[in-house]
């Protein structure tokens, strides 16, 4: 008798595994395209996979088969006849717990996906303190002759769509040189990022000049000064207002001759996951770092033709160097690639989880409606309307779903806060969003359950009463 339960369960589980295995071939493609990984079908066919499936089969069969086997063989014939066991708490409680667990997971995932979307949108729309749109970056690290770049720069400045051209060590989004910022004769210092640039950098990036002016474009051969445009973090540390800072000497490991000529507002020179730190642009003769990139701020209305002209000029004035370019905004977006993959994966799993938990709910509601057919019939004879009966059945599930929501919300908030803490700049989790997500889950659940409820409620009472 007990063996039969195991045989039954074993067969069901085997079928499920086979179906799942076949389906995994299809989902492999989907997974690869989402996560950017390159799993091959042959990876699925190895011995380890089959061993793993075998173990799963064994464990699931053992677990799932034990329950009815123990339950039924443990009860006496009299108990079975009186159907005491089917009403018994344990069986239903178990099903309910399963449904609550499944649904809690769905709620967590629904909330997670909404918050992830919000944060990614926030990242995309955040005012960075500079404007990366329409800024073309051209790699010039391979160019030997500065004269070539000069001619190239002059040539493209003639294109009406090109607004600004600037040369610098690294654009935002790439790491600049790290030096130390010293204050007076204090021993302590602060990490400082420095970037060699020309004067057009401020206007090309759209930085906000708070005081002073930008870096000089041309330095006389004998000039030994180091000109500095500092961000606000630098002068905050030094305890100056922007106006006070102009013309002051700063200790930034760039010799003894560095003076501030301008102050710009803070800007996110790295990803939004990092806080803003002291940053300077400097210009000097014999700078320790060379220019690696040329930034070209352009109007992107006729992008194709503009790009065409820029590329042609590059080939003409900078021969024998490949035109290696990308757009600054696109590059900044790649800083969040991992998060975007996560967004897609979470979305996929949310859909799966919601689907599976709806299946669970559907099954449980069918089972409960089945168990209650007699009760439903009796209630209808006693004057209950179909509506009040489907309400009664649905309310039953509403309790489970509400419990899932109560469990799911704190878990979701905890996990999301953890994820958000990776971002220096992040959204606040709003109760409205959490509430709306939970409500969505609730509606999906109600929709699932109402099918069974309505079906059960509109059945002819006498059939269910007679079916003793």
């Amino acid at each position: 008798m007990i063996l039969r339960f195991y045989a039954d369960t074993g067969l069901t589980v085997l079928l499920a595994i086979i179906v799942g295995f076949v389906m995994s071939f299809g989902s492999l493609y989907l997974f690869n395209s989402i996560s950017g990984s390159h799993l091959d079908i042959t990876d699925l066919l190895g011995i380890p996979t089959f061993l793993f499936l075998l173990v799963i089969w064994f464990i699931v069969t053992l677990l799932a088969g034990s329950y009815p086997a123990l339950l039924l063989s443990g009860s006496s014939a009299l108990q079975l006849m009186q159907k005491k066991f089917s009403r018994g708490g344990a069986d239903q409680l178990f099903r309910k717990i399963l449904v609550v667990v499944q649904f809690s997971c769905s709620i967590v995932l629904i909330i997670a996906i909404v918050i992830i979307y919000q944060q990614m949108k926030f990242v995309g729309n955040k005012n960075l303190g500079f404007n990366p749109n329409g800024v073309l970056m051209v790699n010039i690290s391979g160019v030997r002759d500065p004269g070539h770049l000069e001619s190239f720069s002059n040539a493209i400045s003639q294109i009406p769509q090109v607004h600004e051209v600037s040369q610098l060590q690294v654009p935002p989004g790439f790491s600049a040189s790290q030096r130390s910022l010293h204050k007076g004769d204090e021993k302590s210092d602060l990490t400082l990022f420095t970037c060699h640039a020309d004067g057009a950098v401020v206007s090309t990036l759209g930085l906000k000049l708070l005081a002073g002016k930008t870096l000089p474009d041309h330095l006389s051969k004998t000039d030994s000064m180091v000109y500095v445009v500092a961000n606000k973090k630098v002068i905050d540390y030094l305890g100056w207002t922007p106006e006070e800072a102009i013309g002051r000497k700063v200790q930034v490991d760039l010799g003894n001759n560095a003076y501030i000529v301008g102050v710009v507002d803070d800007f996110n020179f790295l990803s939004l996951k990092r806080p803003i730190e002291p940053y300077i642009y400097y210009a000097a003769n014999d700078a320790p770092e060379s220019f690696n990139a040329m930034l070209i701020k352009m109007n992107t209305d006729q992008l194709a033709s503009t790009m065409d002209k820029v590329q042609r000029d590059f080939a003409k004035y900078v021969p024998a160097v490949a035109f290696d370019y990308s757009f600054l905004d696109a590059h900044l977006a790649t800083l969040y690639n991992a998060d975007r993959v996560m967004q897609k994966v979470v979305l996929l799993f949310s859909c799966l989880a919601i689907f599976v938990s709806c299946l669970g709910l559907f099954g449980l509601s069918a089972f409960m409606a089945e168990q209650k057919t007699k009760e439903i019939g009796i209630r209808k004879v006693l004057g209950a309307s179909s509506f009040s009966i489907s309400k009664m059945l649905s309310l039953n599930f509403l309790k489970l779903v509400l419990l899932s929501i109560v469990i799911g919300i704190p878990v979701a908030i905890y996990l999301m806060q953890k994820w958000l803490s990776h971002f220096e700049y992040r959204i606040h989790i709003s109760w409205l969003v959490v509430g709306l997500s939970a409500t969505t889950g609730l509606l999906i659940a109600l929709l699932t359950v109402s099918y069974q409820s309505i079906k059960a409620a509109s059945a002819n009472p006498v059939n269910s009463i007679k079916a003793e």
Partner: protein, 221 residues
């Protein structure tokens, strides 16, 4: 109140047609107390289910309070159940998950009655059937006779105009049976409630003012 004319009901098994009810003609007026008798399997419960609009029939016409039942919508039947009819089932049909108290209260839940008032009505019923002590027990914890009493109490609690009782005293001793019959008689005489009961007992049948004898789905007399 109830008018059945040439009403037949059958089942088909293969090409074989078995009549459960055949050419039934009955008129039952408001305030009547009718007993249906007949051997086991003669179709008494089937007839009662048809009268109670729980079951369909295949031929003939049924008028309930002047309305053609065959044309009534589900919702209309439900309203008639709610407002006019109390059922006592042969198999009790109590709700297993509810206590005695809740079982009796159930019809009132669908009647728009305030909670305090419900309490009073149910308490009165428990008292009348001497099952106050059992009010918190579940049906499975009761004897057959006690379940039957709960079933009757539930049928009466909403003060229906028509009581359809299928062997209401089948599991009761003769003294309890008499008490139930007296309750029925009082309801019939004093409140004008129409009662149709199925019974095997000549003595109980005699409480009614008319006896319908069924045999193989036909009315004998």
């Amino acid at each position: 109140m109830i008018e059945l004319s040439h009403l037949s009901k059958w089942v088909k098994t293969g090409s074989l047609q078995t009549f459960l009810l055949k050419d039934i003609n009955i008129t039952i007026n408001k305030g009547a107390f009718v007993s249906i008798m007949g051997p086991s399997g003669s179709g008494k419960s089937t007839l009662l289910n048809v009268i109670g609009m729980l079951d369909d029939w295949d031929e003939g016409q049924y008028l309930f309070m002047g309305e053609e039942v065959g044309k009534l919508k589900e919702r209309a039947k439900q309203a008639l159940h709610k407002d006019h009819i109390g059922f006592v089932f042969q198999a009790y049909h109590l709700i297993d998950e509810l206590t005695v108290y809740e079982n009796i209260e159930t019809p009132l839940l669908y009647q728009d009655i305030k909670s305090a008032e419900r309490k009073a009505i149910v308490a009165d019923m428990l008292d009348r059937f001497q099952i106050v002590g059992k009010k918190d027990l579940f049906p499975a914890q009761l004897s057959g006779g006690q379940q039957q009493l709960v079933g009757i109490a539930r049928a009466l609690v909403a003060k229906p105009d028509l009581i359809l009782a299928d062997e209401p005293t089948g599991n009761l001793n003769s003294k309890q049976g008499e008490e139930i019959m007296e309750i029925f008689t009082r309801l019939n005489k004093e409140d004008g409630v129409t009662i149709i009961q199925v019974t095997h007992s000549e003595k109980n049948a005699a409480y009614g003012d008319r006896i319908i004898n069924l045999l193989d789905g036909r009315i004998e007399s």
